[in-house]
Symmetry: none
Subunit: 249 residues, 2 copies
């Protein structure tokens, strides 16, 4: 496997679960411990992640006690994120589906509408949702160990019992010809069904995901509105031919 490819997959895995253990990477990427360590220290040097004893985590700017000024400016910048915008779409009384993964997780902090109900397949979302005082339902199923997302037949069966006003999912790639894609077929199936059950459907995808493709097809572009950030994407029109694209800047 190519070095860059390995690096990408490491970052991708971090997106899904916000921490990885060295041993998980060794196993999943079929590389030696030495190589993984080299990858991690290099990625750390590039500021893409933070190493910890036994693994790594997504890089996040000093969470340590931000000053009032920093807080204010951060709040402001946060208003412009994909997650914040997505959350602002949720209205009082809505019932929404929230996909597993860090992207959707970021929405939770901004979910301020009253009387909403959230259904999710992300085990890690639950505590945050409860902390917000949000009425929370979880679909059941097999627990995918690393990401702690529910997938499989059990998840599908449960999901079929719900309908959503709005569905929010994350993807690994989106492409005019190949649609929305993600590596794990089982996860793709859950995402696809969640889209079907939703009245309004949204895909959260930053600009790096455009023209990328992963192994498993979730659905065509036309099945959801794309929410993305303000970075210039070449050939955005190709996507707009298929569906509405909202760019948050």
């Amino acid at each position: 496997m190519l070095t860059v490819e390995r690096h990408q997959r490491i970052l991708q895995l971090l997106q899904e679960a916000k921490t990885v253990k060295i041993h998980e990477l060794v196993e999943m990427l079929q590389a030696s411990e030495s190589t993984i360590r080299r990858d991690l220290s290099q990625l750390e040097k590039e500021g893409k992640l933070k190493r910890l004893h036994g693994g790594a985590t997504l890089f996040q700017r000093k969470r340590e006690e931000p000053s009032l000024v920093e807080k204010a400016s951060r709040k402001l910048s946060e208003k412009n994120t994909i997650a914040a915008y997505a959350a602002s779409l949720v209205e009082r009384g809505d019932c929404i589906y929230l996909d597993a993964g860090t992207t959707a997780h970021q929405m939770i902090a901004h979910l301020d509408a009253a009387d909403i109900i959230v259904v999710t397949n992300g085990l890690n979302h639950v505590k945050a949702l409860l902390d917000k005082g949000i009425e929370t339902y979880v679909i059941g199923g097999y627990v995918k160990p690393r990401t702690e997302a529910f997938i499989g037949q059990g998840a599908m069966n449960s999901l079929r019992h719900y309908r959503f006003d709005k569905t929010f999912i994350g993807v690994n790639g989106l492409h005019p010809a190949y649609g929305y894609t993600t590596p794990d077929p089982e996860e793709a199936a859950v995402k696809a069904l969640a889209l079907e059950q939703g009245q309004e459907t949204y895909v959260l995808a930053d600009h790096t995901k455009f023209y990328e493709t992963a192994f498993s097809l979730i659905a065509d572009l036309s099945t959801a509105v794309i929410l993305t950030d303000g970075e210039v994407v070449e050939g955005l029109e190709d996507f707009q031919e298929h569906t509405k694209v909202v760019t948050i800047k």
Copy 2:
């Protein structure tokens, strides 16, 4: 489990409960007392929490009862004895149901049989199960905020799809005339169904639960084998008339 993950979870638990006892953390996080102490003193140094005798509290707490030493540490070890025995009943290849709650949680540390599958309705069990490398399924449903257990119609529907070699549940009271009881009707319904789906069924109950009754009936005594500790219980025969009682000493 990564150190930071443990720290995160400690803070999370603290946020939910305002205070945590060391022993609770040891049990929940499957780490030694030494490690937990180190975690706490480190987190205290970072100003994230305040240690107090027997546990910790959130930092910005007012002057409140600085004592959370529990009289129940003997009860704790008794519970643990029951849990260890219960876990020893699980054999290679078994598919078992594990009820939410602390009693069943303690079983996890002792679940050493290979190739087992665990189905649970306890959100907090999942991390511990995955850390043990156990294949884990969760029934879906409404998340009951305080206990973080899955209940309701969704939970019931999911549960109906599974069959178990062995079912383990906790109860709040057991009585020869009134059977197994628990306060919440919704939880009672889930427990009852779990018992129905199980081939062999066990109720874990320390001696303090005997002759107690709570609001909601789960099932008659005859529907499960009772696992209890070695304390002498007056009138144990009344229970043995209805079902098998295993006393672990």
